[in-house]
Symmetry: C2
Subunit: 738 residues, 2 copies
């Protein structure tokens, strides 16, 4: 095996016109093979013709501005629910956009309101008959008659979006003054398709030096509804995965023709909750997701074919306008994309990128973005900023995923000129690129060793939302923390939906099922547990020897007397407040080395009281066989239970910390009955992790901390040890034969 060239290739550099010398110097220093433009930067002919491959960014729905301005009925739309109004009299008038940002929305009065809108009495939950309300376009209102004083009323109405959200966000964040407000056209409209394809053809002809067309991304943005008063309620609603911003009368008509039934405005509005990805989705909404996915593939494919006909490659940047793209979908390959680029803050996003089938190239856009300030407004490439430390900290998170799954390329984005005053940053990126190429070389003909107990994460979405919940990390959603921990562990992780389990049971090779989330969430499963086959299949599977790890409110679907559907398996349940009169089973208080924690295989590395974040309380045990390993205020935090030949572990919450990552890893191992194999490739120091590439005979040890660390790695025989010393943020590679 040839030693790989660690100094060149697989790196995308953001060029910047006016800074040609810097661009070419850093391209060489970082070993770039490709130069890209970014939002706000141009490439000059000098750069474009310097011999590097060129990526050019293209956001189709925002690309045809003069036309969009003169065809406002071709803009994208969505349903909004007016803010509730409490009726004072028998006639009530609701100003539809009151409380919303009127630079983002304009009410769509053109498509017959009576056909497409609905008015609800939210006190009774009933729809107000259409004969009792009328739209008043000039005033922007709906007048409702026969209202009951004291009842709350809302209107579900269609609104055009007259300012595309990314344009709006950048514009308002950077005080762009009178710069144009870009609007997004709706490719569901035939006229828009003609205009976009014509534009794309012209664009392709106008970019002869472009090798890769980087779509940002396809057509529809994630959902983001802004409020009127940005100081108190900028985000009325925002969800990285909701298909809300794809809706139009045309889409609804085509859906009805395809699926044979009609969706209503309330299917999208849902009392103002809309279809947040975090809540268990309805069947109707899932049908709609499939319908839009179909459309985005179909029209996206026409665009990509055009790119290919011009001899160029088509990559998709999976962010912003990513609705309908669905890189985990089995149909993703039908787009014909050549590459997928994922911007990553976390390890789970690296795994998401690697997980996509149907593209040849998987590329990461690393952080920090070359911008004066970070996403929270903190300085990066500006006085007071520490861009090199930022880069190291982002890298050690992403690297946990990179050692576990193959990625083809990395890159940066933004204003390259900003890095000029930071020579240490320039040096660090060169080192980071070498580290990436080394890891890539190990993956090239090998797969890292995995523990022999595949783990399935069970949610309502299943593999469609593999290695994410809904876009980037959201604090308070425990499954994100779990995924971030799993992303760096030597485990084979799958994603199963409750529908999968209902139809086919647990796949035969899976040894542990993990279910994590709040009652009603898509992650715990919510109403998807109503199908009794899910409870049946999992119960029988554990009884026959399977392992279950439940976190938060696993299998929660409350019914009188039972909160968790898998309570018999877990040996505990949650008291949601209706068990004041039901006795509490007394269990032995956990006593071990760490305060309030019992001695057990799972807690062997615990040295301090558990910190599981804002966890679930009022858990009660009902079985003498349930062993509580940790508690707080007499409610279990960590418990284990045998059920038949299987085992379950319960955790009342989860935060991604090195301590909890180790706890979770041990819990999965114990649930799988694999304690005997625990030692293989384990690291004594929880801030470090080991990966073994068997064919290459390489042991890779990473330091996930910003301080130097010592550790002892146990080799695959479970006995031999290797002592390793790591620099802060460091990595070590050792030759270890199988």
């Amino acid at each position: 095996m040839h030693p790989p060239d660690l100094t060149y290739g697989d790196f995308t550099l953001p060029g910047e016109a006016g800074h040609e010398a810097l661009t070419l110097r850093l391209a060489k220093k970082w070993g770039a093979d490709t130069i890209r433009d970014s939002d706000g930067t141009q490439l000059s002919p000098e750069i474009v013709q310097s011999g590097y491959d060129i990526y050019s960014t293209l956001c189709l729905p925002r690309s045809v501005q003069p036309w969009a301005r003169t065809h406002r009925d071709q803009l994208q739309q969505n349903y909004l629910m007016s803010f509730p109004v409490v009726a004072a009299k028998a006639t009530t008038t609701i100003t539809l956009l009151a409380g919303f940002f009127t630079e983002q929305f304009a009410v769509n009065f053109k498509d017959r309101p009576r056909r497409w809108w609905q008015v609800f009495d939210r006190t009774t939950g009933e729809e107000v008959p259409k004969s009792r309300w009328s739209a008043q376009p000039r005033r922007g209102t709906v007048a409702i008659t026969g209202t009951v004083p004291g009842h709350s009323y809302t209107v579900n109405f269609l609104a055009f979006r007259i300012w595309e959200e990314i344009s709006m966000y950048n514009h308002l964040t950077n005080d762009w003054g009178d710069r144009e407000h870009l609007a997004a056209v709706d490719p569901m409209q035939p006229a828009v398709q003609r205009v976009l394809l014509a534009y794309l053809g012209q664009w392709l002809r106008g970019h002869p030096d472009t090798r890769v067309v980087r779509f940002t991304s396809m057509f529809y943005n994630f959902s983001w509804f802004w409020g009127a008063d940005r100081a108190t309620l900028r985000d009325v609603y925002s969800d990285w995965g909701d298909y809300a911003m794809t809706v139009s009368p045309r889409a609804l008509r085509l859906f009805e023709r395809r699926h044979g039934y009609r969706l209503t405005s309330e299917d999208f509005v849902n009392g103002g909750l809309y279809n947040s990805t975090h809540n268990a989705p309805s069947r109707r909404y899932r049908d709609y997701v499939a319908f839009i996915h179909d459309f985005v593939i179909a029209f996206g494919r026409r665009c990509i074919d055009l790119v290919h006909r011009h001899g160029k490659l088509a990559y998709v940047f999976y962010d912003d306008h990513w609705i309908g793209v669905e890189p985990s979908s089995p149909r993703f390959r039908e787009f014909g994309f050549d590459g997928l680029i994922k911007c990553v803050f976390n390890a789970f996003e690296v795994r998401l990128c690697a997980h996509a089938r149907g593209v040849r190239t998987h590329e990461l856009r690393l952080h920090p973005y070359l911008f004066p300030t970070g996403l929270k407004g903190e300085p990066t490439f500006a006085p007071g900023g520490h861009p090199t430390l930022d880069a190291k900290n982002f890298w050690i998170d992403a690297r946990r995923g990179l050692v576990r799954a193959p990625i083809d390329r990395i890159g940066l984005g933004g204003y390259l000129s900003l890095v000029e005053p930071f020579p240490d940053f320039q040096d660090y990126v060169a080192a980071l690129a070498r580290e990436f190429r080394l890891l890539k070389s190990f993956h090239a003909a090998d797969r890292p060793w995995c523990a022999p107990y595949p783990v399935a994460v069970l949610t309502a979405w299943g593999d469609l939302r593999a290695w994410t919940c809904s876009g980037h990390f959201t604090p308070g959603v425990e499954l994100y923390d779990v995924l971030e921990s799993l992303a760096g562990l030597a485990l084979d992780v799958r994603f199963l939906s409750l529908d999968d389990v209902a139809a086919r049971g647990v796949p035969p090779d899976v040894k542990v099922v993990l279910n994590c989330g709040r009652a009603g969430s898509a992650w715990s499963g919510g109403h998807h547990w109503d199908d009794p086959r899910v409870e049946t299949a999992l119960t029988q599977w554990v009884r026959r020897g399977g392992g279950l790890v439940g976190i938060g409110e696993p299998s929660a679907r409350p019914r009188p007397g039972r909160h968790f559907r898998l309570a018999p398996v877990l040996g505990l349940d949650r008291d949601a407040g209706d068990r004041v009169a039901n006795g509490r089973f007394r269990y032995a208080a956990p006593a071990g080395r760490a305060p309030g924690t019992a001695k057990h295989f799972i807690t062997a590395d615990v040295t301090a009281p558990l910190d599981l974040g804002r966890d679930v309380d009022t858990i009660y045990v009902f079985d003498a066989a349930t062993q509580v390993l940790a508690e707080r205020d007499r409610t279990p935090r960590l418990a284990v239970h045998g059920f038949g030949r299987g085992r379950s572990v319960y955790l009342s919450g989860y935060r991604c910390t090195p301590e909890n990552t180790r706890l979770l890893h041990r819990a999965l191992c114990w649930a799988a009955h694999r304690e005997g194999g625990w030692a293989a490739w384990s690291s004594s120091n929880i801030r470090t992790e080991a990966t073994w590439f068997p064919r290459a005979g390489k042991l890779v040890v990473i330091n996930n901390a910003g301080t130097p660390q010592d550790t002892v790695i146990t080799l695959g025989d479970g006995r031999s040890k290797r002592r390793v010393r790591l620099a802060a943020h460091g990595i070590a590679v050792r030759d270890v034969a199988g």
Copy 2:
């Protein structure tokens, strides 16, 4: 007006045979006019004929033991739900009493199981057809065929109670060895009625010196199901107000005849939650409560008439066998009782006793009970005990209620001989009795001053459960804490049900409505909010100027997008976990004198961060008009909101402390728009409270603390002040004309 005699009368002393001298000495010292026996004590002829009135205790359902033993099918019964069994095969056998205490229960196989029992598949929630199961009396099991492996099954079955619970509790707590296990007969059975009436007639003839028959209480005990393993799960289920232990096939048949429909076992079992008083009751269960109340009145009246025919008085001790008695019911007077005796730990129980209409005499049984140990096993009249301090601490709690509402008599219970070694206790009871008589004299021709804004506590139960939730204080049920605070405040407090409000709105003189409790609880209202008239009436009432105080999860009845039905009135709502994607309205962080608390009329006496107990989190504001007065972790704890001409106050939880009592008092005053009248009869020191009797011209100031306190009372003009110094546990009386 004659000065009252404070040394004699209105005091019931527990006599004890063998301690005649002590009995008569303390009767004189404490000014007793009455001597009683207690559970476990007898009165000797010397005591009975000493010239005092005599109370004799009588518990009818336990009174006919030899007969009960030979008529086991006449014992009381109830439904039990077997512990769930997860099916492993297509046939599943459930041992009915597995997990239950078999000295308490015997399965009733005599009344046709197929008619009265039900088997449920708790996985699907569906009843298993009767053709698919059969009862096996010899084995104590039910065998179910066609079971689905992995599904959970339970059997609802009837069980006789072969050991009455109070007998069982005393027996096992005190290690009574082979003393007889008493059983309770069911007076719903005609044969039992004949036996009991015969016994009562004989008993009355055998007690010629008894002036008052003290029933303990009527026929049916509160619900108390014991588990097999008392070390881990003694109380499978216990509720002070559930009618579960009144059920029998006869009762169900009579119910059907009366109400025209048939109740099922599941109406009582409810998935193992039974009908806890804390959960919002179903209409069917409320019909059953009314039916049993009817029966207890009807047969109770026959017993009381018999007592009266023997020239004696009938008092009811409202504890233990109190089911069906319902002293707050408008029908309570139909019993014809002469007195109601309430054992009191707390002020709210004093108010409960005073609240009962339809009896002439309201008597309190004070604590401590004359027993070696208290209810939690701590020493009282035993080495290590401090009975005098205990008595003082119980008294200052009860006294808060006594200054606000008239009570006719007080008394003690237990073994009088135990007080002999405690002369300071003997002295303190004499002083306490004088204090009681003084307060009674003020109430005699007067009503203490109340603030001019009647307050209504709104629950699903309404006035039927006035001044209690379900029996004695239960930690964690916020409304108990609220009631304990209200019991000592100068307020006119009413109790309204949601049905009352639906039918008739808020009574015209009520100025503030208080709703407090967890979602689904009877206290918050649960499904009773499904009647939109409740939301409508309250919303309109606040809009027109009413005041709302909501605590915990007021008006909670979740529907997508709204958790609190009165959210528009409160200006806030709760995120139950489904609003991850919905933006949070930003409010001004509260800043005032105490950390995290804003300056406001309501918080004027706050000096430290609020302690509201285990309160509700994830509250969100949605209105700029909502003012957050206190928060924790960016979730509001205390907030105010204007709605129309009315006002609302929200508190995220409640614990009864002097600080919170003041906070609640101010919140009610502010909600009523009565801040201008706040000063009248207020006490500067929150550990002291003032009551003014206008006709008597007496100002009574009590010290609720165990340490001396100084305070300044503002008089009724809102300006004049009276400085008062109080001893620990002390009381002061001042002449203050109106």
